[in-house]
């Protein structure tokens, strides 16, 4: 699998055949911010192993049916220049990954340290019974930031 993966991105260049247009129907009533990111899955995937300055973070377990993996590429000033996520889990987990990847662009590790599950829930309108997806996002980002600091030292 390569970096771009031919996945739909948020500029929606995926082919408009009947079937994929049909996927736009939010039959289960997910919150719109979750649904759009689930359908488009912008920045899904991972960097090529040779990409410089990439730090990864991960949270969740297969047994809990939620695994989120984040990758961010940092520039020399410690700012995110590009990001990717991969998620195995419900639409909310996928949306959390997509949201963090998008949000991270241009931010420093300091900027990102404050991101909490409650912010994620508010931004994505994640309901109580899916709070664990937001927690997983917080955990994966913290893991990534820890690794970044480990790398620095």
């Amino acid at each position: 699998m390569n970096e771009s993966m031919g996945l739909p991105t948020h500029d929606a260049d995926h082919d408009r055949d009947d079937a994929s247009e049909a996927a736009l129907l939010n039959a289960f009533g997910y919150p719109e911010p979750v649904w759009q990111r689930f359908v488009d899955a912008p920045r899904a995937g991972r960097f090529d192993a040779s990409t410089p300055g990439v730090v990864s973070g991960r949270a969740g377990t297969p047994a809990a049916r939620s695994v989120l993996s984040l990758q961010m590429q940092f520039d020399e000033h410690g700012r995110v220049v590009d990001a990717r996520f991969r998620a195995y889990g419900c639409p909310s987990s996928i949306a959390v990954g997509a949201w963090i990847a998008e949000w991270s662009l241009g931010r420093s590790t300091d900027d990102m340290t404050g991101l909490s599950a409650s912010t994620l829930r508010r931004e994505l309108e994640i309901p109580e019974d899916r709070a664990h997806c937001a927690l997983m996002g917080e955990d994966a980002l913290r893991d990534l930031l820890n690794r970044y600091r480990e790398k620095l030292t």
């Binding site: 736009l24 039959a27 899904a44 419900c90």
Partner: protein, 391 residues
């Protein structure tokens, strides 16, 4: 095409079927204002006419399964039939010291009934099926004890389509004097049933799994030798005292008409459905890492259950809004818990959760099957590409 304007492709016939137009036509005369609206228990002309319609339908239902009309008791559906059969038989016999043998892959209404009986002192053995979902006659016989009052085993499993060897098991239980109840909600019209040859004592049926109306079912109660039941709904003593409550002739006539159609067309239809099911399975083969759940050698014609590695179940379902399919049974899909049936087969939680039950029916077409297969392949690929577990 926008999906709002087009109904999804319906591949959930095992959850419920649409009313056949011919069934509706049979029901309508009992529903129009000048129709046969009387209470069939009433002793006057209109009551007698309603009663006659009920009795004709009773004969139609009996005919499909090789029974006598007097062996058919109307209920509100297979859920009630299963409750009546199991609780009724046990209560009639006396609950103390009684033992029941059933399987872990029965419908929730059988399992829940058994669990209720356990709270009242009945001992229950829940047999674990093999990896393909089959509970063998030998397993059942081995589980019998001198106290075993009843065996309850479904003919066709609703989630994985596995067809149990009822014909082979029934005589073994008869020889041993153990009452045998069969949940045939998914079997009627899809596999051949001839109770004049197969000594089952009690058998549950449902109309809405067979193009009849929802809210009506039946329990076959054998007369020779007589299976005896304590009623579970008490009242005026309708249905030979086994099930009280005003009969619903339009519903009953609908079930009769549906079963009559099955008798004429069921065998040919089963062949057609099996071909559609196989076509769907073939259409999914471009995806690696699929697992078919159930026994392909003993499979009902209408069910195909597949687990998809590397995708999560809820996202899979959310990705397929244009397919009406089921994950697990209808009843358990609301809770989104991994199917207990698939887990009983030994599937781990992740695979059990990432499975879909496709069930085809009378109005399914090859074009629908092909579109559904393409759609599933596309979405499973998409989710696998997003997945953190797939490389």
């Amino acid at each position: 095409m926008t999906t709002a304007a087009h109904p999804p492709i319906y591949l959930d016939y095992a959850a419920s079927t649409p009313l056949d137009r011919r069934v509706l036509d049979a029901m309508l005369p009992l529903m129009v204002e000048d129709g046969l609206h009387a209470n069939p228990a009433s002793s006057h002309g209109p009551g007698f006419r309603a009663r006659a319609a009920v009795e004709k339908a009773r004969a139609q239902v009996a005919a499909l399964i090789g029974a006598e009309p007097g062996e058919i008791i109307w209920t509100s559906g297979a859920t009630e039939s299963n409750n009546l059969a199991i609780k009724g038989a046990l209560e009639f016999r006396g609950l103390t010291q009684a033992h029941v043998v059933t399987s872990r892959t029965e419908h929730k209404c059988v399992l829940d009934t058994c669990r209720h009986l356990e709270t009242r002192g009945v001992r229950v053995t829940y047999l674990k099926p093999g990896a393909l979902g089959l509970v063998t006659p030998e397993q059942v016989i081995d589980a019998l004890t001198p106290d075993t009052a009843l065996v309850s085993l479904m003919w066709v499993n609703n989630e994985i389509g596995t067809v149990h060897e009822i014909e082979r098991l029934a005589p073994l239980l008869r020889e041993r004097g153990v009452l045998f109840h069969v949940d045939a909600a998914q079997a009627a019209g899809r596999v051949a049933i001839d109770l004049s040859q197969v000594p089952v004592d009690l058998m549950s049926l449902s109309a809405h799994k067979a193009y009849g109306p929802k809210g009506i079912g039946a329990l076959f109660v054998r007369r020779r030798p007589r299976a005896r039941l304590a009623p579970q709904i008490h009242g005026g003593g309708h249905e030979q005292g086994m099930r009280s409550g005003t009969l619903a002739p339009h519903q009953i006539v609908g079930m009769g008409a549906a079963f009559e159609i099955l008798q004429r067309e069921g065998a040919a239809e089963a062949q057609r459905l099996a071909a559609l099911r196989d076509r769907l399975w073939a259409g999914l083969q471009s995806l690696p890492q699929l697992h078919r759940n159930g026994d392909p050698m003993r499979s009902a014609p209408h069910v195909l259950n597949v687990s998809f590695e590397g995708v999560e179940g809820e996202s899979l379902r959310a990705s397929l809004p244009d397919l009406a399919v089921s994950s697990g049974s209808a009843c358990s899909s609301a809770t989104q818990e991994p199917s207990y049936v698939l887990r009983a087969l030994g599937r781990d939680d992740e695979l059990a959760n990432a499975s879909l039950r496709f069930s085809v029916g009378r109005r399914s077409t090859e074009a629908e099957i092909d579109a559904a297969a393409a759609r599933v392949c596309q979405q499973v690929r998409r989710l696998r590409e997003i997945s953190a577990l797939w490389d």
